[in-house]
Symmetry: C2
Subunit: 327 residues, 2 copies
């Protein structure tokens, strides 16, 4: 059943049916005729066709790097809470850490499917910047800072400095790090910078070969811990860029008989559930993921309302969650 | 820039541009003229408008109850692997265990936005069944069995029987259960049925008050473990319907000084990462979530190809992962 058929059954023009569906003016008589046909046939107007007319979908697209992640799911909960109050639904696009997919979904979402996009970003290539610049719908970047865009992000560098200082004060002398790719500005570059800043301030040197890089899973954390400990068996303090990486590292350390924290102290990032059930409990950094989701949602609402055309940046704080993995 | 403007610049009709974009027949001369304008202006046809013409979006909608879940993310990985090979992208809709949202997204997706829907189901109300019946796009149900629909699901009952038998053979005498809502056919009803079947076969009785019901999070597992142990301090064998529930129960048992498995043995469901890092490691049930995602994807492809119009049901097996939480 389409608009043409409704028009024919009601004995009116196609334009009349269209005006009826879009609450435009039509005579009482014609309104009654169209309503009767629609009621009898159970016709549901395609929201797709409506979208082309009204240009509003009440949908926000959220592009995210992985779904099985506590930090991401807290951000999505924050976004969803704010937006559903305003009658918006979310469509999620999972890129599985594939930058190409990010570009594909940006393109897909902007082709009128959504009113706005929240990009939980990881890596920004030249192609990203070019595509972002050409977007016809408002976009907010969450979890990363990108010059020239509205964004909500965390103070990864200050947080990394603070936990590293804790390990120094606890008497750490031989430091190692299992970080993330430096192409990830927040998790890779800023956390590493904070770690190195604190060591430098304390006059502690660290060899380049004690700075490892893992993927965002515990298997990779395990592997990198093995590489690190084989090159640097003296390591007594280990900085892991995420809790997930720390879980893998701890598994390796346990298997090789190292005691935590007596032989080696270790910290993670993310304040995940898994950090709390580990024995000993992992000392980790809490970043306000839910808040950053909420703030991103508020920003996109403002952009949709045409307010605040200047790009806004918001940097959020952190909190250290003390576990039992520091001396 | 829209099709009308392209047509004007190229000196051809709107219909010609439309045929060009849809690979219809047009003369070489006109093709060259349109191509030149499109190349020069960088015009990108709206896929939305294309959708209305071709009725194909190459998108599959996946409705899921929560995103921060290992089982769900494994299913999505399976779905995504099979479908992206065929050039499909996924749009995910997160219902946060809200049945109303499930209905909303079914409606939203079917309004021509996607070619097919995979519903990772939980609860089927009358409204669900009515809406499912009226869908104009093919749908596959994953993780649950629903009469009359193509579905891929797990043998929850047999798996629950098997782990319960293990606890009986290990000498369990006083059994308790922290299950899930009975409105969830698979996780709630079938796992409970399997548990009770095995006890009955062994001639072991269990009081109704030792059968608790938790939400799908560890906080609720903690709370229900407390209720159970306060009513039934004699409990020496605890069946948890999910690993997440078991995590909360273990936390409570630890706090009250109970030794696992000496004082109380415990099992979970899901073979999650958290089960493996717990001390002692949790004995749990592995369900082939990734496979069920892959099979759901294959079913939807067959439905899209117009093959196999008869509804197909596929029941997948299980495997017990032995930890250290059984005697």
């Amino acid at each position: 059943m389409n608009i043409n058929e409704i028009a024919e059954l009601a004995g009116v023009s196609r334009a009349t049916v269209s005006r009826y569906l879009n609450n435009g003016y039509i005579s009482e008589e014609k309104r009654a005729a169209v309503k009767k046909v629609i009621d009898e046939t159970g016709f549901v107007p395609s929201s797709h066709a409506q979208t082309l007319r009204t240009k509003k979908t009440k949908l926000i697209g959220v592009i995210l790097p992985k779904i099985n992640s506590e930090s991401i799911s807290r951000m999505v909960a924050g976004i969803s809470g704010v937006l559903s109050e305003q009658g918006y639904n979310l469509l999620l696009a999972n890129t599985e850490n594939d930058e190409k997919k990010e570009l594909e979904f940006l393109q897909l979402f902007q082709d009128n499917r959504v009113d706005g996009i929240i990009l939980i970003g990881t890596i920004f290539t030249g192609e990203h910047k070019k595509l972002l610049k050409s977007l016809r719908v408002p976009v907010v970047i969450a979890g990363q800072h990108l010059e020239g865009y509205s964004s909500v992000y965390h103070d990864d560098e200050a947080a990394a400095e603070a936990v590293t200082e804790l390990m120094i004060r606890a008497g750490g002398q031989h430091f190692g790090m299992i970080g993330a790719t430096l192409r990830d500005e927040a998790v890779g570059r800023k956390r590493r910078a904070g770690f190195l800043n604190s060591l430098e301030k304390a006059g502690i040197t660290v060899e380049e070969s004690a700075l490892k890089e893992a993927k965002f899973n515990s298997e990779s954390g395990y592997k990198m811990a093995r590489q690190l400990m084989e090159n640097h068996p003296e390591t007594d303090s280990l900085f892991c860029a995420t809790d997930t990486i720390a879980v893998g590292a701890i598994e390796y350390l346990r298997e090789t008989g190292k005691k935590i924290p007596d032989d080696i102290q270790i910290i993670g990032f993310g304040d995940s559930k898994i950090a709390r059930v580990l024995t000993p409990r992992l000392t980790t950094v809490h970043l306000a993921y839910k808040t950053s989701g909420e703030e991103s949602a508020r920003m996109i609402l403002e952009l949709l309302a045409g307010k605040n055309t200047a790009d806004r940046e918001m940097k959020l704080g952190y909190r250290i969650v003390e576990g039992e993995s520091l001396r």
